[in-house]
Symmetry: C2
Subunit: 418 residues, 2 copies
């Protein structure tokens, strides 16, 4: 995997060209605040896809569209019978999204192709750049829809039947934008790499340029409902209350403790809370809140699940309230492929970029692809860790560094033959 | 004040007649669920007022309406130059109100008049039954509007100028229902008693029939805003978070502790909370919640205010967040008149009713009247402490007991002359 002795050791991507492409794609759906709103399977998504396809064809690629609308731009290898070395990400955005989330991974792949073309490098295995459909899930759920179908996380039929708030189905929207492609089994992938902005503060906080992503955290999401007794705030003495918010507040602190005691990788969050009746002078009779637990392996995640349920049971018993815990989402933890992770780490070192091992706290297309192919991810910092926001930003030098690591890791996997 | 040797020692009100009147008035605005919706200054309120006025006239009373629509039904005394001994309450209800809140106090007063008439009792001082305008504040604020104007808590002009959600002013609504009466200074009141359902669980919990109300709790209401940092739940490690909900939850527990440490009379409640952005996988960046502190005297209330502010300052400092505390409401504590309170206590004992001293956690017309006249309240239990609810209920025997205490206390204050 080491490129030191490779004929391509001196090869570098063109950071300015990459930046230029990012800025050009960002104009499709550009918002007044400097962000991008390019929702999956809208006409703006079509325009973005068309631009990518045009660029990929100009780079000599053949284009394949699958039945869920994933685009694969293929640069032929010496041995076309080999499974391709693939990279990619998505170009759909959140409603108030930024220029880099997803787009960076797609255009870093394109930049790799352009770099290989400019240097006349040929690889044994073919190279493909994937644009996965509807990663964000803003209009259609489930999220990571294209890679999920590709990896068999759910069926094509299930995905195509989903409808947006206006009742339009995925199948209809794909046809409308001209990206309903060929059905068929997903082809084998030799190795998959995905470059992405971190969407968190760890690299910036540690002043590192490259995040070597070892795993994606598993997730368990819950709805917790505390049933107490609604009563007037004035006439009800403290000792006769069954205050649902007081119990919920104790549980928010317990939920936090669950991950704090399992640092550095575990995460726990209460993001939503609703009070009933939510009136200034009424003791809350019912409180409903969400819990989001994440951990890098299933044993830890299960341990956290047990800690949550134990805390709820204890608080219910101590406070004389009914507390219901319902798990509503489960994503298994997904370790990335050690050999590919090591390729990312070693090439970052070779190139002189500071790096550190990180976990991915969020979902990415790579997490699904990793179910069916060797896979790894490359993170680069984003300013203040902010993403899913129009002010999302990243340093050109960091984007260039991540793309150089991607180039090298892909070349190592695909084998340079000339 | 002791009635033992009084010529009226054997006098009792007619519990069945009282109950009958309560049920008849409850038909005006009756709801399908057995409650009452008779919002202040609506046509239903007019119908209720008309019924009371008719009953009072049938009981030989003269009727006086003041400029804010308060009704005073007067039974002449031997010495008409003496200030009247007054009782009363309100007949407006919450939108999903019950049959007893307010109505009991008014009709208990009417029942006292009827009892005196039936027994041919004459009093030295005149006796009046007041129906105070808009106690509930469901349509027009401020709450306790009629008694507030009477007591000078705010001006008549301020009250008349208030408008409901449809833009109708109090002045217009009063004219529309024919209850815009004569302006003029509030007359002196010799003593004021108000019978009311407790609207809380203390009497029921202690199995007592009569609550001897010693004071109304003072209230300080606040808006507290915690400003943290919004961030994605997945990619943000625990140690880099500034979770506004975590700080708010700690404060909910601190707020609770403030009153628990000052039992039995202090109360503290967080009734409302809003999270921003309130998304399942986003760490809350901002949380806003209400605080309601109540105490029987100003020194304790101020001490609780200091404890709240200290807790907010500590949590802000420890967690690196900004916390803003804004007081939005202040009602001073209102002790009732010891001599009248003792009359309630002694007469409950004489009549063989179990009783206990309680405080009023909620506002009542008597709290304002106590600013300008000697005043006391008599509480009776309501089922499960529930009020402001269509299922609000009370036992006929308890309502009868409270009315007998009212009769005796008023006779003691007004002096029986025959």
């Amino acid at each position: 995997m080491d490129m030191k002795s490779s004929p391509c050791a001196a090869l570098r991507i063109d950071g300015a060209r990459l930046w230029q492409s990012l800025m050009e794609l960002a104009q499709i759906g550009a918002t007044a605040k400097g962000g991008v709103c390019r929702i999956a399977l809208t006409d703006l998504d079509r325009q973005g896809r068309d631009l990518f396809v045009q660029w990929a064809k100009e780079a000599g690629c053949s284009i394949r569209i699958d039945a869920i609308g994933n685009i694969f731009a293929r640069r032929a290898g010496q041995d076309e019978s080999l499974p391709p070395v693939m990279t990619g990400s998505h170009i759909d955005t959140q409603p108030t999204g930024g220029k880099f989330d997803g787009n960076y991974g797609v255009l870093a792949g394109l930049e790799v192709l352009r770099t290989l073309n400019a240097a006349g490098v040929r690889t044994r295995a073919p190279i493909e750049v994937a644009v996965w459909t509807n990663e964000e899930g803003s209009r259609f759920v489930p999220v990571m829809m294209g890679s999920g179908v590709f990896a068999g996380a759910f069926t094509l039929e299930h995905a195509l039947a989903q409808r947006d708030a206006q009742g339009v189905s995925v199948a209809e929207a794909l046809t409308a934008i001209g990206y309903a492609g060929q059905a068929g089994p997903a082809p084998a992938v030799g190795a998959y790499f995905e470059a992405h902005i971190e969407q968190g503060p760890v690299l910036e906080n540690n002043q590192r340029v490259i995040g070597v992503v070892t795993a994606a955290l598993g997730q368990r999401w819950y709805d917790v409902t505390v049933q107490g007794m609604e009563a007037h705030a004035g006439p009800t003495p403290m000792e006769l209350r069954r205050d649902a918010l007081l119990a919920a507040s104790e549980l928010v602190m317990e939920v936090n403790r669950i991950a704090v005691e399992r640092r550095p990788h575990a995460r726990s969050t209460v993001g939503t809370m609703e009070l009933f009746p939510n009136s200034r002078n009424v003791i809350p009779g019912r409180v409903r809140f969400s819990v989001d637990l994440r951990a890098p392996d299933d044993a830890q995640l299960l341990d956290m699940d047990r800690a949550l349920r134990a805390a709820c049971a204890r608080v219910a018993q101590e406070r004389g309230l009914a507390i219901d815990v319902e798990q509503v989402v489960y994503f298994p933890p997904q370790p990335f492929t050690p050999q590919l992770v090591q390729a990312v780490r070693a090439n970052a070192d070779d190139l002189g970029y500071s790096s550190m091992d990180v976990v991915s706290g969020a979902g990415h297309d790579a997490v699904y692809v990793a179910r069916v192919a060797p896979a790894a991810m490359i993170f680069v910092p984003c300013d203040d860790g902010i993403s899913h926001n129009e002010i999302e930003s990243a340093e050109p030098a960091h984007l260039e560094a991540g793309c150089n690591v991607l180039l090298r890791a892909m070349l190592a996997a695909a084998e340079v033959v000339k």
